[in-house]
């Protein structure tokens, strides 16, 4: 067992345990904190896959923005769910069965595919520079990039409009 494999297994255990706590813990604030742990674990996976830029973006976008935004909304909407009693509906058994079946199917599919045991090559030193150029080059991904920008702008305006308090109504 190499050091990378040990790091991988530790990260996998921590990430999956944190993800499990996210979906099972009754306290919503704790669920949000476990979500942060799970997202950190995913960032470590990105490092192991030598996608350092994506790991940094994961920490900034997911942990810094999305998880904190969720925590704000949990605190703003707490009155009803007092973190007591079951937080899962009566359908949780069907959900568990469906999830287990899907996991079995996915593992079977992964195991039946002929997958490479090692990468075909190393990531070039200039991979982040290449990514930056590809995102804005007309031969690369400039159209998906611009569409994503417009989507973010539309989501921003839509979120402000939906959550706006109308004083005189």
């Amino acid at each position: 067992m190499t050091a990378m494999q040990i790091v991988f297994i530790l990260t996998a255990v921590v990430t999956l345990f944190a993800a499990f706590r996210v979906v099972t813990t009754p306290n919503m604030i704790h669920a949000a904190l476990w979500l942060i742990v799970a997202l950190f674990g995913v960032a470590v996976f990105y490092i192991l896959l030598s996608a350092s830029f994506l790991a940094v973006a994961q920490v900034i976008v997911y942990i810094g923005a999305i998880a904190i935004l969720m925590m704000f909304v949990i605190m703003l909407t707490r009155r009803e769910m007092r973190d007591r009693g079951p937080q899962t509906g009566p359908q949780w058994k069907w959900a568990a069965i469906l999830s287990a079946l899907l996991f079995g199917g996915l593992v079977w599919m992964v195991e039946s595919m002929a997958l490479p045991a090692a990468p075909v090559g190393d990531v070039p030193e200039s991979s982040i520079a290449d990514l930056g150029k590809a995102l804005v080059s007309p031969n690369g991904f400039v159209i998906p990039f611009e569409v994503a920008s417009v989507l973010l702008l539309a989501a921003l305006i839509g979120a402000v409009y939906v959550a706006w308090t109308r004083r005189n109504s």
Binding site: A12, T88, A163
Partner: protein
């Protein structure tokens, strides 16, 4: 060296945990957290295939960045909706929000 199927199996486990959260949770914010876990699992898959199949091309990373942007937009709109729904119904329990249920 870690082989590709390890990543795929961890991503599959993360995905089904997220799916379980989406299907079983009552609180709408918790459902959104399940969706986040599922999107992260997909991103691990994208980057694992990029690393093992085409590490010299920026395609995989660009795809993952688009997924990031879509996830951020989805969370912003979803949470704004929950705030608006909470103001109207005084609840974020998915079962209570049944105004459009036929």
């Amino acid at each position: 060296m870690i082989s590709l199927d390890w990543y795929l199996i961890v991503a599959a486990a993360l995905f089904v945990i997220g799916l379980f959260g989406v299907l079983s949770r009552k609180n709408a914010v918790a459902i959104l957290m399940g969706v986040e876990l599922m999107l992260n699992a997909v991103n691990i898959n994208l980057l694992a295939f990029w690393r093992y199949r085409a590490p010299t091309e920026p395609v995989g990373m660009a795809f993952a960045i688009i997924v990031f942007a879509v996830a951020a937009a989805e969370v912003a709109v979803g949470l704004a909706l929950f705030i608006a729904v909470y103001r109207r119904f005084n609840s974020v329990v998915a079962d209570d929000i049944n105004l459009m249920k036929w």
